[in-house]
Amino acid sequence: MFALSLAEARAALRARTISAVELTDAYLGAIEALNPQLNAYVLVMPEAARAQAAAADAALARGEAGALTGIPLAIKDLFCTKGVRTTAASRILEPFIPPYESTVTANLLRDGAVFLGKANMDEFAMGSSNMTSAFGPVTNPWTRRGDNRPLVPGGSSGGSAAAVAARLALGATATDTGGSIRQPAGFCGLVGIKPTYGRCSRWGVVAFASSLDQAGPLARTVEDAAILLGSMAGYDPKDATSADLPVPDFSAACARGVKGLRIGIPREYVSDGMAPEIGALWEQGRAWLQDAGATIVDVSLPHTKYALATYYIVAPAEASSNLARYDGVRFGLRREGADLTELYENTRAEGFGAEVKRRVLIGTYVLSAGYYDAYYLRAQKVRALILRDFTEVFRDVDALLTPTAPSAAFGQGEKMDDPVTMYLNDVFTVPANMAGIPGISVPAGLDAQGLPLGLQVLGKPFDEETVFAVAAALERAAVFWALPTIRAGR
């Protein structure tokens, strides 16, 4: 049962060769067996999941199958779920039970999905390793050949990625502010897409940096990601930046092929100390797409090297503003003080972890009187130049091919000496967030130690269809068959 992809499980459910209750029970059993080791879920919802699965079986029996009827998913703990604790992996939200459902999860429920539980993540989605979670680190189901030391799953959607890779869910919701879907997808041998900014509603998703945050799926195949995104996406009047555009048939786009497409290879996507296998895999990806009928074009995005520094002004600035709401008054943790200011200061000192504090402080500083122009305004101008680079290059090409991350998964506790070393993980993923364009990571090969490596495809705004077409072509050529060490059903 664990070998089935989401698309295959859906076909089996519709053919009634398996039941939704059987499928959900199998996944709940897998979670019980492996979650103590992986820490992928911070909350498991067995009763609710079984009830949803029973309802799915009833719907299937009536011949009323939605796009995801009976499909068990993990929900990143950044998505508000009505009546179910939602923490953003922060102590400050430990007691928070939302009285509403996020639009993205409501869309999934509308289509019949089963929610197994809430997935671990970096606190407030700030991190690239899942090491900043108040619930502790997540272990990557993959290990280096002959070496059992635990590796990080990437972040911030580390719990979502570990759950899908270890077969503790058929798919998962995730969010991506600077790479938090694509980098964990790369580290865990999964497919993950950050759609165009505005494609998925941000309503009910705990905010980090509102001009960058986008929801998207993590899945085991390109088609599975397409099915999930098709359900998650769509116009929502409750999000002022939600795009009022129809949701295309992403699954159909996977079969399009790349014949006649022009694929750009941006020469700036290299980094110091990048593993040689990653450069070789990028070359291989270029050859695969050429063999499939695409034309390869060398292109330049000259402001690429400034994207990450721009991000570390814009994202903390927006975070310092968004996180001002956590004051111990209306919801979440409260720590008393002698007066109201002390109550705020004590609550936030105890409620936020070290990385969140660093980013709120940086954000407060770059927005403060006397520094706004030098930091924040300048960053917004560089951001405009990054977008201009993409706009110009997309006049000539249909999509871009790059590596997903400059390394494979690293060990828990590594890259923790200074914040900037950790930030460099997102060097290839951040530009897409700055420009608001869609990007997908596809597992394409293994490094010398047997760890998965991803290739990233970037596309034009609201042209996820081409992104899926290119990703599916890479998937067909790569024939990525490797499986993680820790997984259900072995």
């Binding site: 960058l212 930046t241 008054v329 209306r330 709120v360 300048r378 101008k381 977008l387």
Partner: protein
Amino acid sequence: MSLDPDAIRRVARLARIRVPEVDIPRLQADLNGILGWIEMLNEVDVDGVEPLAGGTTLALRLRADVVTDGGMPEAVLANAPDRAGEFFAVPKVVE
């Protein structure tokens, strides 16, 4: 630009985060490391460039200025750490 201990205390106060004195040196090193790295943006020529604030270049929609939701005090107060009737309660601010 780099932050001295007084600047760290001032920013922490603005952010309403209590920072114990013992944490200041480490925070100073971390924040100055980040700010030093960000300095690279000074080499970019941004003359005449319009700042980009949002994640989309699509025009933002306007909606009618009408009430679309509300009338649910119990749901709004359900997560309050302290309440008094239908209000959030905080320590006394005015003597």
